[in-house]
């Protein structure tokens, strides 16, 4: 019988790891991979909590199913965006793309 | 009908009876699954030695030649000879290939195909390796690992051909997974459970799904689509574009030599057997020999439930499909990539959806639940 703390500790660690991955990586693909990791850690926590209270109701499992579905949608859209960004900017290293901000000093 | 069939189903696997004394009465679930898979896995692997021989013999006959003859009586030992040769051959890895990816491709594909045997039942009297509640889902899950593994393999072998081959095989597999799933959903909905044993027991009572007229022969349509997409899944001749010899040598498998190639060939044939076994379980009535449903009292009941009879029917059916696969391989020409994808996305998908809807709306079992 695996104590639930272990599960939660693992999911916490994974979540933080995913976050660390998102922060440190410069390549958009790797950021997406880290985001997937964060999502999976959340899933793990859901399943763990569901298991903790005995398998009477399965809210946790349903939640994780939903998270998996949403993650799939998010991955599809993310990758589509990356492709179009790549097509436009020629690269998807996040640090070099700062179209959000005016290149030159905007004269307010 | 549907309810009572599921609860009496989780028959005890034979392993439990053997190991109970060891584990003080209740052997843990994973132990049963492990032993069952090993036992029946070996049986299937032995078949893998015979199946290619049968296939090559039939193909030869169809193409007017005699096939392997020299090695052993009628060339029976030809396949073990090949295996031995490959095992001894030098295992090369292309320069610049990604070590981990290269190994991973082989590892993932072979492990998943072997793991796929777990839920396949061979009979009712405990001949069950592992009785998973998610049976068919487990197999599809395991099968879905295959395309990424192929792509990783293709990429890892650091050559343009294998890379493009990997892409093509992934595209093809994804294209045909969905029609397969859809056609299976119909059967699952009728039997009311994922486990293959449940499906087979259901067919034992009601007759083989492929022949069920109550579903307006939708079983036939879904069966056909399932069969064709499973052939596409195994990337055999009509659909073997990824490894089209002329253009891409062996597709993602080109750079694998020696035991890796042997494993890959084994995986290919394993996929063929598993797919045909799935088709048998879902549509051909699994291990019960009689196509039409028999009730408790009929004379054939004893015959149908005899474990040996069930085991033999299962093997005979497997070899029947191996023969069909060989027949397909020799008769049909290769499809173009766009034809292949169109067939998958534009024809199989809508037809299977339509048939599914008709079957669900018509199926007598579901009607009782609704009413």
């Amino acid at each position: 019988m695996i104590p639930p703390e272990w599960y939660l500790a693992l999911s916490g660690f994974l979540f933080a790891g995913g976050l660390f991955g998102v922060l440190t990586q410069k390549n958009a693909m790797r950021i997406l991979i880290s985001v997937e990791i964060m999502l999976n850690s959340a899933n793990l926590a859901f399943v763990a909590f569901n298991g903790m209270f005995g398998l009477t109701n399965f809210d946790g499992w349903i939640f994780s199913l939903m998270v998996i579905g949403v993650a799939a949608a998010e991955a599809a859209i993310g990758l589509a965006i990356f492709l179009s960004v790549y097509r436009n900017f020629g690269e998807i290293t996040v640090s070099n793309i700062f179209g959000l901000r005016e290149e030159k000093e905007a004269n307010l | 009908m549907a309810e009572e069939s599921t609860d009496q189903l989780p028959l005890e696997s034979f392993v439990k009876s053997l190991f109970d004394p060891l584990f003080a009465g209740h052997t843990p679930g994973w132990v049963m699954v492990l032993v069952g898979t090993v036992v029946f896995g070996t049986y299937i692997l032995i078949n893998q030695l015979i199946a290619p021989w049968v296939e090559r013999k039939i193909m030869a006959r169809m193409q007017g030649r005699r096939g392997p003859v020299y090695v052993g009586k009628w060339g029976v030992l030809q396949i073990p000879a090949d295996l031995l040769k490959l095992a001894l051959k030098e295992d090369t890895r292309p320069a610049g290939a990604d070590k981990v990816g290269f190994f991973l491709a082989i590892f993932l594909t072979s492990v998943t195909s072997i793991l796929a045997f777990a839920p396949l039942p061979w009979g009712t009297e405990g001949m069950i390796p592992g009785n998973f509640s998610i049976g068919i889902l487990y197999i599809f899950a395991v099968f879905s690992i295959f395309p990424p593994a192929m792509m990783v393999g293709g990429w890892a072998s650091n050559s343009k051909y294998s890379l493009v081959g990997g892409f093509r095989s992934a595209g093809q597999l994804v294209a045909y997974e969905i029609p397969m799933f859809l056609s299976v959903i119909g059967i699952i909905a009728i039997t009311g459970s994922f486990s293959l044993i449940g499906i087979t027991e259901h067919q034992a009572v009601h007759g083989w799904n492929i022949l069920r007229t109550q579903h307006w022969l939708m079983g036939l349509v879904l069966g056909f689509i399932f069969f064709v997409s499973s052939v596409a899944e195994t990337e055999r001749v009509p659909f073997d574009i990824p490894e089209a010899e002329a253009e891409l040598v062996m597709g993602p498998r080109t750079e694998f030599s020696g035991w890796r190639y042997a494993l890959l060939m084994m995986v290919e044939y394993l996929h063929l057997t598993i797919n045909s076994m799935l088709f048998i379980y879902l549509f051909f009535g699994g291990y019960n020999p009689i196509p039409w449903g028999i009730s408790q009292g009929s004379a054939l009941y004893a015959f149908a439930n005899n474990p040996w009879v069930q085991f033999i029917t299962m093997s005979v059916k497997i070899y029947l499909f191996v023969a069909i696969a060989a027949w397909l391989r020799s008769a049909l020409a290769r499809l173009r990539i766009d034809q292949l994808l169109n067939l998958g996305w534009k024809y199989f998908l809508p037809v299977s959806l339509g048939a599914l809807i008709v079957m669900l709306s018509v199926a007598p079992e579901l009607r009782q639940q609704l009413v």
Binding site: I37, F58, L65, G90 | -
Partner: protein, 206 residues
């Protein structure tokens, strides 16, 4: 006493953590992708340990099958100059990582400490005894019941959510296809990409 399942759990979680570490440090993005696949399979096994066969099946088929293929495709299509992990020299790496590390420490510490403290506190201790995590003694029909109950509950209390999920996936599908199919005009592209098309026939068209 240390149970066999617990050992399995520890091993799998170590493998999972190793896979995560590899996704950061491995040079090529494709390698990061397949390490992610390994990570996902590991997580699926963890689900199995938590006695949820159906979630194991979903995880493997959706994540392992669907999303990983997506990631692999994208990783190959969007060429990019791979580089080693953050910063060039070791010292450069450490300095660059410090803010990330701080954030990492803050979040990790809290996320790990919080549940552990909560679960071990007397308030919850009482009713966790029924936990099935890693309970290998679970009989087969128990597994069947779980799957049946899960799907029953999914389709009764949570039935309204499913169409939304379906709609979300549909829009994601259509949206991503639309985004990717769109043929960008030369003027829209950045200079870098435009000179990539310098010699090609597209430039003549434009």
């Amino acid at each position: 006493m240390v149970d066999f399942i617990q050992i399995v759990f520890i091993l799998v979680s170590l493998f999972v953590l190793f896979a995560m570490y590899m996704t950061w440090t491995v040079p090529k993005t494709m390698q990061a992708a397949y390490w992610l696949i390994m990570f996902l399979v590991g997580i699926a096994v963890l689900f199995l340990l938590a006695n949820s066969e159906i979630i194991f099946a979903f995880q493997i088929s959706i994540y392992g099958g669907g999303i990983s293929v997506l990631l692999l495709f994208a990783a190959l299509l969007a060429q990019h100059d791979d580089y080693t992990f953050v910063g060039d020299s070791l010292s450069g790496k450490i300095i660059a990582i410090i803010p990330q590390l701080i954030a990492y420490a803050l979040v990790a510490f809290n996320l790990i400490l919080l549940p552990v403290l909560a679960l071990t506190s007397d308030e919850y201790a009482g009713n966790i005894t029924t936990s099935v995590l890693g309970d290998s003694g679970l009989t087969v029909d128990q597994a069947f019941k779980n799957t049946a109950d899960f799907s029953a509950q999914l389709w009764s209390t949570y039935a309204p959510i499913i169409p939304f999920l379906a709609m979300l996936l549909l829009t994601a599908l259509l949206g991503s296809v639309k985004l990717v199919i769109r043929e960008w005009e030369l003027e829209e592209l950045s200079d870098l990409m435009r000179d990539r098309y310098k010699g090609t026939d597209r430039e003549v068209i434009a």
